[in-house]
Symmetry: C2
Subunit: 344 residues, 2 copies
């Protein structure tokens, strides 16, 4: 995997059967990415006949030697780790093995999140110094964007894992989002050092030891994520996943409340019609479309995981982000940082 890190071409392996609209959105997303950046090489992995018929249907051309046949598909209902074993010919496992064998630099999939994490962790392997890989999500905040790590890669974690998340996410946000020396907060139930559960109280100590080096700002609370108190918020994957899914549901209840308000009277309906466009613009930040996908940090290759419902644009953005991560040698920088902190 590593020998290509300095190659001029970035080779992205795309699990073409991952998402809910596969291979359509994957194929269209790949073509869109190539038309935006022709320096990328994409390997499409999945049911070859389906991929080719999708290309033909949309009158698109794609080098056939870059289509890798995989007869099986890991579905959203498959058990992640079991599926890796029982479906060795699935598009995801074949994709991960292509990266593992050095034929690709990055893995991109909008498939079963748990399975993509498992394939990345088990087939690609963890970077040296990483106990648990982590997934991060950007959230809209009053000061711009707040990145939440971990958003669900590891539901039971140790204090040392939270320190790893801080180090890895710091490099990611710095390099990919151009935030200079991003500030880091530890998610807890109060600002004071003494507030928290057993996990965060111990993690606080570890983070406090490298406070200046990582720009650690201490504990933050649930309100500080959208409040944007720090650029990054660190938490265990259980809490992060619950927050992420809760946040995604906010737009839903607002829409429902507005709808039921509109139904109360004709006059209300007119009011709601008037505000619809404005509200849509205001709420657009809460959509995951722009981001495309989220990285799994801590494994030995770039790995980007997308929403199953991801549009071609989302897939395109996942590919472009994978390329950027590869180009900026993010994994190398993460590994170096982890080793630096381990030696402190």
């Amino acid at each position: 995997m590593k020998k290509s890190a300095n190659n001029s071409t970035c080779r992205i392996v795309l699990d073409a059967m991952g998402g809910d609209f596969a291979p359509r959105n994957e194929v269209l997303g790949a073509i869109a990415a190539l038309s935006e950046d022709s320096s990328i090489e994409i390997l499409l992995v999945g049911k070859k006949d389906l991929i080719i018929s999708t290309l033909n249907e949309h009158n698109l051309s794609f080098p056939e030697q870059n289509i890798y046949d995989a007869e099986d598909v890991i579905t959203m209902s498959d058990s992640p780790t079991a599926a890796l074993r029982t479906k060795p010919n699935s598009s995801l496992v074949v994709s991960a093995n292509l990266v593992r064998s050095g034929k690709g630099d990055a893995l991109v999939s909008a498939g079963n999140t748990g399975a993509v994490m498992a394939a990345s962790t088990l087939l690609l392997g963890r970077l040296k110094g990483v106990g648990r890989p982590t997934i991060g999500v950007p959230m809209p905040s009053e000061t711009g964007t707040c990145f939440l790590f971990d958003a669900g890669a590891s539901v039971d974690c140790k204090p040392s894992h939270l320190l790893e998340y801080a180090i890895m996410s710091k490099i990611y946000v710095q390099e990919i989002y151009n935030v200079k020396n991003p500030s880091i907060g530890l998610l807890s139930v109060g600002e004071e050092k003494s507030k928290g559960n057993d996990l965060t109280l111990k993690a606080y100590e570890l983070l406090d030891n490298v406070r200046d080096e990582i720009n650690f700002k201490g504990n933050v609370e649930g309100k500080d994520i959208l409040g944007g108190k720090t650029n990054i918020v660190i938490c265990d994957g259980f809490t992060g996943n619950v927050i992420l899914k809760f946040a995604e549901s906010v737009v839903g209840i607002l829409k429902q409340r507005i709808k039921s308000f509109a139904l109360k009277s004709f006059f209300n309906k007119i009011k709601v019609l008037f505000m619809r466009g404005t509200l849509k613009k205001v709420l657009s930040d809460f959509s995951s479309e722009k981001q495309g996908g989220v990285p799994l940090l801590g494994v030995k290759a770039v790995s980007i995981i997308g929403h199953g419902s991801g549009s071609p644009t989302a897939i395109k953005n996942m590919i472009l982000k994978a390329k950027e991560m590869h180009e900026k040698q993010l994994l190398h920088k993460i590994e170096k940082a982890l080793s630096d902190y381990a030696n402190k």
Copy 2:
């Protein structure tokens, strides 16, 4: 405490120095509650001269023998358990001791949340069968209201505590919110039984054992709180507190986004002016004003904890809720249910 459970008069001990606007809002709230329900007896606890001058200032009368002097105040920055020890003459400790000694049936305070919980747990004591008391909060949901327990009383808890929360919250929601046989979900990272962290996987087993009796619907996710999939969602207090504070911050970021949209152009400003009233109505559900306060379930007397910023209306509603809980013999019913399940 118990001997008065069947008295016709409910005696509510109000910590008059708790909130940010004490004793003003407490005094006005108490008078408002009395004018709404004259059968209640209220004991006001705090700096007597301040309470009396507040009454005079607003031209209100209140029986002086029901004002208990307490010279000290536990502030928001005091450490909860330490404050109970170092400030024995604080309005909160005096209030809790009045309930403990049988002079009152319920404790109501808008003071330092941690201190009110500590005073309730340590001075009033836990009900038989309760390992950890729990705080519950109502959240607006697509199907009405979803109650989240625990919202922060206990940040590290055992699987058995989650079962207790389920039993206690069920009775509370049934009796106080008239929801017949409320459904209960366990907050986790996926619907499947196999999804969760160590705590929830074990709690699932305990809840599953009494599935039919408590109307347990299995795991729910972060999105299902606002989605209203179940009437009650059970979680550890760390996760619950983070979710609660995150939810409270949603309105803030919406307002900020709308404001910055308005600032972009004159035309945008007009659009926002038009939608302001509508949006205010739609978002009113997210305000905690109506609820007033939240109960701490599992202690030996009714205990209601309010927001420090609570208005007189919030204080009034806290008093009325305390009265209802007392009148409906909620604690007795909770104790009975816990004992019934313990014997299963």
